[in-house]
Subunit: 276 residues, 2 copies
């Protein structure tokens, strides 16, 4: 029943967003993308929410994962509602918020209240081994999904998708993974294998590319590095993956748009090649 309601809410939210999209110029809404290509707004961390929205529209993307820099945790309900309206008016659909770091048990509920007020159906989460079990009752109470984000070799909590998968395997099915393919590759893990292992627990993806897969592997525009983007997209389509494929562009923080444009052009080309 909870799942049914959740699906229905997502559907209604999608309908609103699509109605908004129809008012956009054709070039800014690429509804032909068969995977849900989107943007983790951390990519625009040096910009205001209004600037971020403008650039996301230039990318022809409608799916967002919103970072707190664009919607502060201490926002009032009125401010959260205003932000929701801004996203909807721009034809954008918020798939999630995050990464939200759950370090203090005492703040957990406030983050779910924030997500609820912001209309986020999912939280991309960085919990600790201590806080992770405390998220499950919140997921049930708020009917908000949680996707654990792995943070690579430097992450003391969940450096790899497998480490997170192991920790959640007996939890509510609305708790899953956001596999960050850059951090995963830098941890020496095969991305395709990690996706297969996650199966239905894969709820979101942070996409990027790396010049090499060493621990300090440098990020580059998608398609210019060594990560297996095309085989991964092929696998995601085979798995009928319905989650977001969110570009988290970590380079060129002061001027990310050109590299992000190349990244989306490449990803759309891959999808066109896979469909041909």
């Amino acid at each position: 029943m909870a799942i049914h309601l959740s699906s229905r809410r997502t559907f209604l939210a999608g309908g609103m967003a699509l109605a908004g999209v129809r008012r956009l110029p054709a070039a800014t809404a690429r509804l032909q993308d068969d995977l849900k290509l989107g943007v983790a707004t951390y990519s625009f961390r040096k910009f205001t929410r209004a600037q971020m929205i403008d650039m996301v529209r230039q990318l022809g993307v409608i799916y967002l994962s919103v970072k707190d820099v664009h919607l502060p945790y201490n926002s009032t309900p009125k401010q959260l509602a205003a932000a929701r309206k801004e996203f909807a008016d721009a034809g954008l659909k918020v798939l999630s918020g995050g990464v939200i770091y759950f370090e203090e048990p005492g703040r957990i509920r406030s983050f779910f209240e924030y997500a609820k007020g912001a209309g986020m159906p999912m939280i991309i989460a960085g919990p600790t081994h201590q806080t992770l079990p405390m998220l499950e009752p919140m997921v049930k109470e708020f009917d908000i999904k949680v996707a654990i984000h792995n943070h690579g070799p430097g992450d003391r909590n969940f450096p790899t998708p497998q480490s997170a998968l192991e920790a959640i395997k007996h939890m509510d099915e609305r708790i899953g993974l956001c596999i960050d393919i850059g951090h995963t590759a830098r941890a020496g893990i095969d991305i395709l294998e990690a996706i297969r292992q996650a199966g239905p627990r894969l709820l979101d993806l942070h996409v990027k590319d790396l010049k090499d897969t060493s621990v300090k592997g440098e990020a580059v525009p998608v398609g210019e590095g060594v990560l297996p983007i095309a085989p991964m997209f092929k696998l995601l389509r085979q798995l009928n993956y319905q989650g977001g494929v969110m570009l988290e562009y970590e380079v060129d923080a002061d001027n990310p748009l050109p590299g992000m444009q190349k990244s989306f052009a490449y990803m759309r080309g891959v999808l066109a090649g896979l469909r041909a």
Copy 2:
């Protein structure tokens, strides 16, 4: 015998260019492209040869079709040799020159001498019905290929690939087509069918994309329009097409690089998707 010599010369020229490429930073030479993606330098018509070479390198491309703005027809043999050296030193390989318009019978020989001096193994040609037959003896004498470029609805001579194909079908096999997919689509012709019909007579391609295929269809970055880029690349790979796939970017003449970067990212994505 003539064909044998031609192949050998092409091979040697290729070896020189590849030796140059090895000196480039890895990021600027995408030898993994399985079709020969390149640039028709008409795209950089507002820039000097040196600026053009710099931007082509930024695109990670090695194949060029050189327009006379970057190598004037009245160049001396010494100037032509200097340009050849500049291209080779930059790791670039000249596949052809053009489009060269053969309007006056009296100038035909001089264009072949120009191409020979510039090391161009092929001329992308805009002949008239009168001059086309005069090109065949030159092709035999100079052992330089000719690819007839169709120029769309406004072209009084060869508006479509089929009209050129009909005119050359009994000529030397080194005379073929450069199908301009934009002009072809604006003439109401199916690009894939035109490529199939041309078969081994297809020697070169001018790639672009259009917002729509009306007679006045506006050019856009490749991947952002309606032309069937991915199905075309799939067909070209099936046909084992060995010619150039040359981006002729007609928009943003004052600042073409961003749109060209998106175009190459998209085309490389398509190839990656087809390979996956």
